[in-house]
């Protein structure tokens, strides 16, 4: 799980062009939206694309993202349980 969390942090930084952020800056349980990384709705869409492209996880209901993207750890747990690649 720790390996997937670290991989996800790298992927999020790359996909969202978070050039001033390093994986160490993102706490496993930090909120990704709001007070955390300050991501916006376009970033949420980009994360949905990232999950499908890299792990074959398709969110049929975008509102699921609200729960799944609460933190990198929760995102990793969801991917672990639903990944197809």
């Amino acid at each position: 799980m720790d390996e997937l969390i670290l991989e996800l942090k790298h992927e999020i930084i790359k996909a969202l062009n978070l050039e001033e952020i390093s994986p160490a800056d993102i706490g496993d349980d930090d909120p990704l939206f709001g007070d955390g990384l300050g991501l916006d709705s376009i970033d949420a869409l980009e994360l949905i694309v990232l999950m499908e492209k890299n792990y074959g996880v398709k969110l049929t209901d975008p509102s699921q993202g609200r729960d799944i993207f609460r933190s990198v750890r929760i995102m990793a747990e969801y991917i672990q349980a639903h990944r197809t690649k």
């Binding site: 996909a15 969202l16 062009n17 978070l18 050039e19 001033e20 952020i21 300050g38 376009i42 970033d43 869409l45 980009e46 694309v49 499908e52 492209k53």
Partner: protein, 208 residues
């Protein structure tokens, strides 16, 4: 009388006005990321922008640097009007590359920049401007069109000041020329001749 109070310019070779301590750092050419960091701006969204928006963002930073709060009384209704010839071509090309493969994954963050008018919104958001924002595509720099458009904004009573700019991005080059226009006691009288002269100073006479 409407005047061009201040102006800024960015090209691959130069940026104006630069604080004295940055002139040496930028002597080798303008890298937008480096310029952003050198200006000590804290606005992480910059890195998510396309090149056109980064260029407009930086030109506006140089233009409004040092603007005092009292001086910015007109900012609340300040308008932003921009022109170029290639619209959002660079972002369009980048986005189209994400939808060419068989099982493609279109990028939402690239898609949002496939409209040139986004740059006017980025500037307005950054500086909390609530005036009109508009973007026009013209085959080439056209000072008469720019000045006429700005005069219409003032004639409509929509704003007390206007940021007007030519912001062009091509795959291998870029240019931003931005002016702050309003009823100021200082500056050059607003005219196509003066706008042409200013941009020529940068383009041809290399005055920085």
């Amino acid at each position: 009388m409407l005047t061009i109070k201040k102006y800024s310019y960015i090209s691959p070779q130069h940026a104006y006005p630069l604080p004295p301590h940055l002139k040496a750092a930028m002597a080798g050419g303008i890298d937008m990321g480096k310029l952003y960091r050198s200006l000590a701006i804290d606005y992480p969204k910059f890195f998510k922008m396309d090149t056109l928006s980064k260029l407009g963002f930086l030109a506006a930073e140089l233009l409004t640097a040092g603007e005092e709060k009292g001086e910015a009384e007109a900012m609340n209704d300040r308008s932003v009007v921009c022109f170029n010839k290639s619209a959002s071509l660079e972002a369009d090309i980048a986005y189209s590359k994400t939808i060419q493969k068989e099982n493609f994954f279109p990028s939402p963050s690239l898609f949002v920049y496939t409209l040139p008018s986004i740059v006017t919104g980025e500037i307005a958001i950054r500086h909390k401007l609530r005036g009109e924002t508009s973007f026009y595509v013209s085959p080439e720099w056209n000072a008469e069109l720019l000045v006429d458009t700005v005069r219409q904004i003032f004639a409509a009573g929509a704003s007390q000041s206007v940021i007007a700019a030519w912001i062009e991005c091509e795959p291998d080059s870029f240019e931003a020329f931005m002016m702050l226009i309003g009823n100021y006691a200082e500056g050059l009288p607003l005219s196509a001749e003066n706008a042409n002269e200013l941009i020529s100073d940068f383009r041809i006479h290399n005055i920085f």
